[in-house]
């Protein structure tokens, strides 16, 4: 317990107390087990018992009471888009914006699902050109069973749940909490905005937190918001004191989170609908990242975007274009791209890919060998160009030399093979 560094210390006084009151140690631990066995009821019964005889709060300002421990409030915001709505294509099973549910939870901790509870659930829905934001609040632990049974109907199976890092965290926790209470609740269709956000913005804004995206991409920085890490303690404080003042910050935080989810989602959808509108503006957006997202949804648009960005000098888009051609077996086009990239920037990937095409398609072993040798010299002379290949990032961080070596090994292998082929064809 980082918060209780002196716990062990203070324990020695307790030790004294227990020592004094302790009867001679009974060896009858086994008999005691019988009592325990009696408590062995099924999970439902266990949690039904928890809620017995607890007084709950009289009032949570701004919230209406839905049960002994469950509270609710609703707010309505304007549509997150201006003018024409975009086509909703991102979430695959989506039949339109009305099936989307933007969700975020606030919890009593961050790790281990058994002892971490969800005490606040924020849900946002688009309906009749409005955004409805519902928040459900659990005012004490014993009410969890009630809380879950109240929110369950608002989590229909056929909706698409849009979250930020919800795939890895919120939905697992939600599932586990329901499971503990003997219910099964799986969010079947999910779309996690974290992954596309990283693709689009990580290179330009660094850490891809919701807050950072709001400030750098949406252009609406948050002020005076509670730090997510302080939320559990803030809730515990409320439980201890009953003072609801601190809670407002959590409610607001959660509210902004789900609201932002809707905004980011809509922004993403509009980028997909008309990627060309970004060409001139959108300086924070990674074009190659956008193209990757588009590739699965609208390949033609992706290709168009790549070509455009490649001609205006975006190397990453160039590489993607190269791989795109390769995948479509358009080797002439691919070679053209790789050659151009390699000449302009001595790019390692471009060089390797060009050598591959020269060797396997054009059977121009000499040219392939020349490039391979250039790459080898390049790595040896310029250690900054080290590239980790086929290894985990952690590995290459600890063993950059090895990562580099494995690339060298690969290149040398190619070189030897090319030499052998040249020998065989007798043209060297």
């Amino acid at each position: 317990m980082k918060e209780h560094p002196d716990l062990t210390h203070r324990l020695s006084s307790l030790y004294e107390q227990i020592k004094k009151s302790k009867k001679a140690r009974t060896t009858d631990d086994l008999a005691e087990k019988e009592n325990h066995a009696e408590a062995g009821k099924h999970s439902m019964a266990f949690f039904k018992k928890t809620s017995r005889g607890v007084a709950s709060r009289d009032d949570i300002p701004g919230f209406e009471r839905l049960g002994d421990f469950t509270w609710h409030r609703q707010a309505v915001e304007k549509n997150p888009w201006q003018g024409m709505p975009p086509d909703f294509k991102l979430a695959t099973t989506s039949t339109g914006p009305e099936s989307l549910i933007f969700f975020d939870t606030e919890t009593t901790g961050l790790s281990g699902v058994a002892g971490t509870m969800i005490f606040l659930l924020g849900l946002a829905r688009i309906q009749n050109d409005m955004l409805f934001i519902d928040q459900y609040f659990l005012s004490d632990f014993p009410g969890e069973n009630e809380f879950l049974s109240i929110i369950e109907p608002y989590l229909p199976d056929n909706s698409v749940y849009v979250s930020f890092n919800g795939k890895a965290f919120d939905s697992h926790l939600l599932f586990a909490r329901f499971m503990l209470h003997g219910r099964e609740k799986l969010l079947v269709h999910q779309y996690d905005l974290l992954f596309p956000s990283r693709r689009l913005w990580k290179n330009s804004i660094g850490s891809c937190t919701l807050k950072q995206i709001e400030a750098m991409v949406l252009g609406v920085p948050r002020h005076g918001d509670i730090d997510g890490a302080d939320i559990p303690d803030c809730y515990f404080q409320f439980l201890r004191t009953g003072d609801t003042a601190g809670l407002q910050a959590i409610f607001h935080h959660n509210y902004l989170d789900v609201f932002s989810l809707a905004k980011i989602h809509v922004l993403l959808e509009s980028m997909i609908s008309s990627p060309s509108s970004l060409r001139s503006s959108g300086s924070v957006t990674d074009k190659a990242g956008l193209a990757r997202i588009l590739m699965a949804l609208e390949p033609e648009k992706a290709l168009e975007l790549l070509k455009h960005e490649y001609t205006s000098g975006d190397i990453e888009c160039g590489k993607l274009l190269g791989f795109f051609h390769k995948k479509n077996r358009a080797f002439i086009e691919a070679a053209e791209v790789w050659e151009n990239l390699f000449e302009k920037s001595q790019d390692m990937t471009a060089g390797i890919e060009l050598a591959k095409i020269l060797e396997h398609k054009n059977r121009n072993y000499k040219a392939a060998l020349e490039i391979t040798e250039t790459l080898i010299t390049e790595i040896i002379n310029n250690p900054q160009r080290k590239i980790a290949r086929g290894r985990t990032p952690t590995f290459s961080r600890y063993f950059p030399e090895t990562a580099c070596n494995s690339l060298l090994v690969e290149l040398n292998f190619r070189k030897d093979r090319l030499l052998a082929k040249l020998e065989k064809s007798g043209s060297r």
Binding site: M1, A37, K41, A114, G115, F141, P232, F236
Partner: protein, 765 residues
């Protein structure tokens, strides 16, 4: 039939030079096996699989286990080497899992290495039968190495999950809702090597099992426990303490065993005047070479990693001289810290016979299946009777003769044992104790338990639970609401509570020779400071490396191949710094203080020792931060104004050092019985003149960082412990002192030690 081993025994029996060093030759006669038929109800797939491995009948104890388990009883089976341990649990578990397609089993092994071993073994049974088809039982190993992609499958579809306590503690229980499918159908919990769960580690295990049982009850299941133990003094009692259930003891081993020879060997004197004997390293190497040349499969147990490497390389170089070009004799070293696949390869080589000899630390003492060997050489007494039998037991086959030689080192304990073999043979193996209600440990586990599931106010682990829960509530860690205590801290308790005293941080050893950058092994951090300091010579499977750079922070050590004629030995200094004195009383005639201390272990320099002769050829400096442990200690001060202090001051000057040293030895041996801990859980340090208090002092401290209440427990029962010390001294039948009382007495000049110490201890009463 190869009679090499019998020839060797005959040869040794007539070798006068060898016999002149033997202080005892114990012959343990062969024992026939007791067999029963396979249970009729066994599924044909299992029977077929067993048949394909040549098993058509069971040993009586295997059958006994099967019957008990199938009758719904918990068992503990005592399993010497080569007694077919795994079938004791695999057979009833597999049969039940085939009958009940929902049933699941959890196998717990004390370490990761052992659990991975088990997976291979089980797979063999399950895939083993060609005619009977596969036994459709899915088995997963769930530990820190299990890839995330496999974890969900293990949880949801694993019928048998193999894991270790640390994973159960920090991985499975805190996430039990993800394990619901597994836990609600959990039918068996198999705990192998249950004798390792003693002392503080055992107390942790008991509380961990309390947590497990609590969660399983929550899901409505009640599993049976199947436990295996090595030979210890009290297997049934220890098991019942650890799992807190009644168990049936299965101790009648039905496996046959060939004749065994146990030889106590004292290396010859090289300097009779000073009493210097030939070193244990060279002596064991010579014997091993002699055995191996006769094609006797031999295992050498050594007491340290460096010695293991030394003996192995000496053996190999000695053999190389004889077998220049035919390399038919393969000898390997084995210890923790090798890469897993290297270890697997050695184990496999030993099983299939392609490796003829192995030199090992106690890593091969138990658990890992290496098949039967003909001879075991114990290079030095392993420290406990139980370990000695385990190691000697590695030599032993079902049919043929086997041989174990205990070679004494020059330490007093070794010399005592070798001089009094009857002491060794007459003692039963050590017993194991746990204290499940150790308050500190229980509090840690209550935190975890509250995290895992709210604790009803009328429930708990023991009578003190309620007070501990109130205490935790006062400190805001848990919260009482309604009739339940809820975890109410953002922390994740299991993450901050370690079941073991040793750190799990490992340093990776990287060979950078010629830019190679390959990982060759690993080592725990405290050991790395003693063995991998800059310029140290690191020995690894017969190769020699020089440490280029030990990077403690990044847990990485760069080594380079080298070729020098010496190895290195760190000079380790341990000192104690008093941080805080909490409580002061008078007890046992001394001033007694309980408080916090810092135990610092520092490597300041190292010796260079020449290979083979082991002569010191130089020193080097080591610059490394000390290894520090903050813990709790009892300090007994012999101040001059106390009864004990006066008695101590009255001792003749020459007796002061031995008296306080032997008092420390005695305390270390006796106190664990009262503290229900293991000897290794406490540290004892004697100071003739303590630098902090300026008086003679005895420190008794907890070897778990932060303390687990052993210091308080000691203070609590100090007068009972002192009384027990006096009793141990006066009741010990030895004449002048032995390892059971004041410690080994070898030198005739120490005849007064026992009576002097007894006189002193009586003054403390």
């Amino acid at each position: 039939m190869d009679n090499g081993i019998e020839d060797l025994v005959r040869e040794l029996e007539h070798d006068r030079e060898f016999l002149s060093c033997v202080t005892r030759w114990e012959r343990i006669p062969a024992r026939p096996g007791k067999y029963t038929n396979l249970p009729k109800e066994l599924d044909p797939a299992i029977t077929a699989s067993l048949a394909s491995r040549g098993i058509t009948r069971l040993y009586s104890h295997q059958h006994e286990c099967y019957t008990h388990v199938r009758a719904g009883k918990n068992i503990v089976v005592v399993t010497p080497t080569a007694s077919g341990k795994t079938l004791c649990y695999n057979l009833p578990v597999l049969q039940s899992l085939i009958e009940d397609q929902d049933a699941k089993a959890l196998f717990l092994f004390p370490t990761k290495a052992l659990s991975q071993d088990q997976q291979a073994e089980l797979n063999e049974i399950i895939l083993g039968s060609e005619s009977g088809g596969e036994i459709g039982v899915k088995i997963y190993t769930y530990d820190g190495d299990t890839p995330t992609s496999v974890r969900a499958a293990a949880r949801d579809t694993g019928r048998i999950v193999i894991s270790h306590p640390d994973m159960l503690h920090a991985g499975i229980l805190p996430n039990h809702p993800k394990w619901i499918r597994f836990l609600k159908n959990l039918k068996y919990v198999v705990i192998d090597e249950i004798h390792t769960y003693r002392g503080v580690f055992g107390s942790h295990m008991t509380n961990l099992l309390r947590r497990l049982k609590r969660i399983i009850r929550f899901y409505g299941a009640t599993p049976q426990f199947i436990c295996c133990s090595a030979t210890i003094g009290n297997p049934k009692e220890l098991t019942e303490r650890v799992i807190e259930e009644k168990v049936e003891l299965v101790a009648n081993n039905g496996a046959p065993s060939g004749e065994k020879h146990l030889i106590f060997y004292n290396p010859p004197l090289v300097d009779p005047v000073q009493g210097i004997r030939r070193g244990v390293v060279n002596e064991s190497q010579k014997l091993a070479v002699r055995f191996l040349q006769k094609k006797i499969k031999t295992i050498v147990f050594s007491r340290s990693r460096v010695r293991t490497e030394l003996i192995a390389s000496y053996i190999n170089s000695a053999l190389a001289n004889f077998y220049n070009d035919n390399n038919r004799t393969r000898v390997e070293s084995y210890r923790g810290g090798y890469l897993p696949n290297e270890r697997r390869e050695i184990e496999k080589g030993l099983r299939d016979g392609s490796i003829h000899g192995v030199v090992s630390t106690n890593a091969l003492e138990l658990g890992i299946d290496i098949g039967g060997l003909d001879a075991a050489i114990l290079a030095g007494f392993p420290g406990s009777i139980a370990s000695s039998w385990q190691q000697a037991g590695r030599a032993g086959r079902r049919q043929t003769v086997s041989l174990a030689v205990i070679i004494a080192s020059s330490s007093p304990l070794n010399q005592y044992i070798i001089g009094h073999p009857e002491y060794f043979l007459g003692r039963s193996p050590e017993s194991g104790w746990v204290d499940p209600n150790n308050m500190y440990i229980q509090m840690d586990h209550l935190k975890c338990a509250a995290f895992e599931l709210p604790i009803p106010i009328n429930e708990g682990f023991s009578e003190q639970t309620q007070r501990l829960l109130s205490f935790l509530e006062e400190n805001g860690v848990i919260r009482l609401s309604g009739d339940f205590y809820y975890w109410s801290d953002r922390g994740y308790p299991a993450e901050q509570i370690s079941l073991r005293s040793a750190t799990s941080e490992n340093v990776i050893i990287v060979n950078i020779t010629k830019g190679r950058n390959t990982v060759i092994g690993e080592m725990d951090r405290p050991s790395a400071k003693e063995l991998l300091f800059d310029n140290a010579i690191y020995l690894h499977r017969g190769a020699q490396y020089t440490v280029k750079k030990l990077d403690i922070e990044n847990k990485r050590c760069a080594v380079e191949e080298s070729d020098v004629n010496y190895y290195t030995d760190a000079v380790v200094k341990t000192d104690i710094k008093v941080l805080q004195e909490d409580e002061q009383t008078h007890a046992a005639g001394t001033r007694m203080i309980i408080g916090d201390i810092l135990v610092r272990t520092q490597v300041a320099k190292y010796k260079k020792l020449k290979f083979h002769t082991h002569e010191n050829i130089g020193y080097g400096d080591v610059v490394l931060p000390p290894e520090e442990m903050h813990t709790r200690s009892v300090m007994l001060l012999f101040s001059e104004n106390t009864r004990a202090g006066k008695a101590f001051a009255a001792l003749p000057e020459t007796q002061k050092t031995p008296v306080i040293a032997r008092l420390g030895f005695l305390v270390k041996n006796v106190a664990p019985v009262f503290l229900l801990c293991d000897q290794n859980d406490i540290g004892v340090s004697e100071k003739l003149k303590d630098p902090h208090f300026n008086v003679p002092a005895l420190y008794i401290y907890d070897r778990y960082p932060g303390g687990t209440g052993l210091a308080e427990g000691f203070a609590d029962s100090v007068s009972r412990i002192i009384r027990a010390l006096a009793e141990r001294l006066s009741n010990c039948p030895c004449a002048h002192g032995c390892p059971s009382c004041i410690g080994p007495v070898v030198d005739a000049g120490e005849k007064e030690s026992k009576s002097t110490l007894l006189g002193f201890v009586e003054k403390l009463l």
